[in-house]
């Protein structure tokens, strides 16, 4: 086999960027997630961030973060197991557990770390992971690192999952791994059915609710509320950096599952603890959601409906999203970036997904309108979306 040099291995293929004259990745934002936000000195309507409830730049969160800096400083300069754990850290763990209706919660610096670290801590190589075909990279990478047997099941296909569960050796420990909201499509896992399947076959469920927490359920508590699951016996993970407007990730669940991770999850034990200002932000945002979720959610859905309707009426091809995500089908990578470029030139920031994040020739342009946006911004965005599909 011909040897490929290290420099060649590290080469990035920019051909699609050169062809379209547009690189949508790492845009340099010069403002907060305001409406408009600022890039290259120009105003943009933010349909890219995951700021579903529009709380990332809420003055109450900013004030809470400042107060935490005044009390604790910027960083505790230690891992949670050493000097990084504070009374605030503990308070927020308890608050999140109560919010979710779960016994215990651990807070990681990111949800990628939480997902990655979960599997490496709990799985052995003779265990079996049954994982949704479209599960997020953080889950997949964590599972692969354990060396366990992987049995993917077709996306959101409960019958295919059961076929795979029937084949698992009863002496093996099996895990069923999925997400609540699949964010490039806007689809939701049939998690009530999946959970019941887990109970039937004695499998341990793992659900990543990153795009569900603060979005799904009558009071924004996420997938477990949405699926009416009480006394959940499994692992629950979620990002604090989407609807919750902060950063970090959590793993929650029954005390006997979480207690082990507290001491044996390397990604938690050996990472500098999440910043006090962020913990204060999470504390405040949970309080705001408890009081204001209905109004914020109503606005978020209204904006989503305005955007989806405009896209459908003007002939855009959309995924069948049932969440506050509108996802345009972009075709191949060049075409997907071309659409994102046209929207960018009209002052709309979007998130384009191209291969290998999605299938080849099956690109997506994701649009999420946060509840902080002004209605006239949404009206302007819908007008642009209607005009652009005439090209």
């Amino acid at each position: 086999m011909e040897r490929v040099s290290f420099t060649e291995r590290m080469a990035v293929d920019y051909s699609v960027v050169e062809k379209t004259g547009f690189n949508p990745y790492y845009p340099e934002i010069q403002s907060a997630l305001d409406d408009p936000l600022v890039i290259e000195g120009k105003p943009f309507i933010d349909l890219a961030s995951n700021n579903y409830l529009g709380l990332a730049n809420d003055p109450r969160l900013c004030m809470a973060a400042r107060a935490a800096i005044d009390k604790y400083g910027i960083s505790m300069c230690g891992t949670p197991i050493a000097s990084g754990y504070s009374d605030l850290f503990r308070k927020v763990e308890i608050l999140l557990s109560e919010f979710l209706g779960l016994e215990k919660t651990l807070i990681y610096p990111s949800c990628y770390q939480a997902n990655n670290g979960l599997f490496t801590a709990i799985m052995k190589n003779d265990d079996v992971a049954l994982v949704d075909r479209c599960a997020h990279s953080s889950l997949m990478e964590g599972i692969k690192a354990t060396g366990c047997k992987i049995r993917p099941f077709l996306h959101n296909n409960i019958d295919h999952l059961e076929m795979q569960l029937k084949k698992v050796d009863p002496s093996s420990t099996s895990f069923v791994v999925t997400e609540s909201v699949f964010s490039t499509e806007g689809s939701i896992a049939p998690f009530r059915d999946i959970y019941e399947m887990c109970l039937k076959y004695s499998a341990i469920p793992v659900i990543d609710d990153s795009h569900g927490i603060g979005v799904l359920g009558e009071s924004g508590r996420g997938i477990l509320e949405h699926a009416s699951i009480n006394e959940y016996r499994g692992y629950y993970t979620a990002s604090m950096g989407k609807a919750l407007g902060n950063m970090g990730g959590i793993i929650s669940g029954p005390e006997e599952y979480i207690g082990y991770l507290k001491y044996f999850s390397s990604h938690l034990v050996y990472s500098t603890a999440i910043l006090p200002s962020i913990l204060a932000g999470i504390e405040k945002v949970i309080k705001i959601i408890n009081l204001e979720f209905r109004a914020l959610s109503r606005k978020m859905w209204k904006y989503r409906d305005m955007i989806t309707r405009a896209c459908l009426e003007s002939g855009w091809s959309l995924t069948e999203s049932i969440t506050p995500i509108t996802s345009l089908r972009g075709g191949d990578s060049g075409n997907t970036l071309q659409i994102a470029k046209m929207l960018y030139e009209k002052g709309i920031l979007t998130t384009p997904f191209i291969y290998p994040s999605v299938g080849r020739n099956d690109g997506r342009i994701r649009l999420i309108a946060g509840a902080n946006l002004k209605e006239e911004s949404i009206a302007a965005a819908t007008s642009i979306l209607r005009q652009l599909n005439q090209w």
Partner: protein, 77 residues
């Protein structure tokens, strides 16, 4: 030949490949299958052919025809 048709059907049923699939198609370069797609196909093949595939059996499978040939061999063992 019969196995080849079965493999092509397995690929259709378990991946996003809905167009024409040729025996010479490379799984990665022509069909754009990733490691999870391959696992889905292998798991389905175990059911259809009533065999259990070990890691050793899966090495060097680059094309659609390679999978069919490997299954032929395993069935005659």
């Amino acid at each position: 030949m019969e196995n080849l048709e079965k493999v092509i059907n397995l690929i259709r049923e378990n991946t996003d490949c809905k167009g024409e699939i040729l025996p010479s198609d490379n799984l990665v370069n022509d069909l754009y299958l990733d490691s999870l797609d391959k696992l889905l196909i292998i798991n389905a093949a175990e059911d259809v052919f009533s065999i259990i595939l070990e890691g050793e059996d899966l090495r060097g499978l680059n094309t659609v025809a390679d999978i069919a040939e490997r299954l032929n061999k395993l069935q005659t063992v």
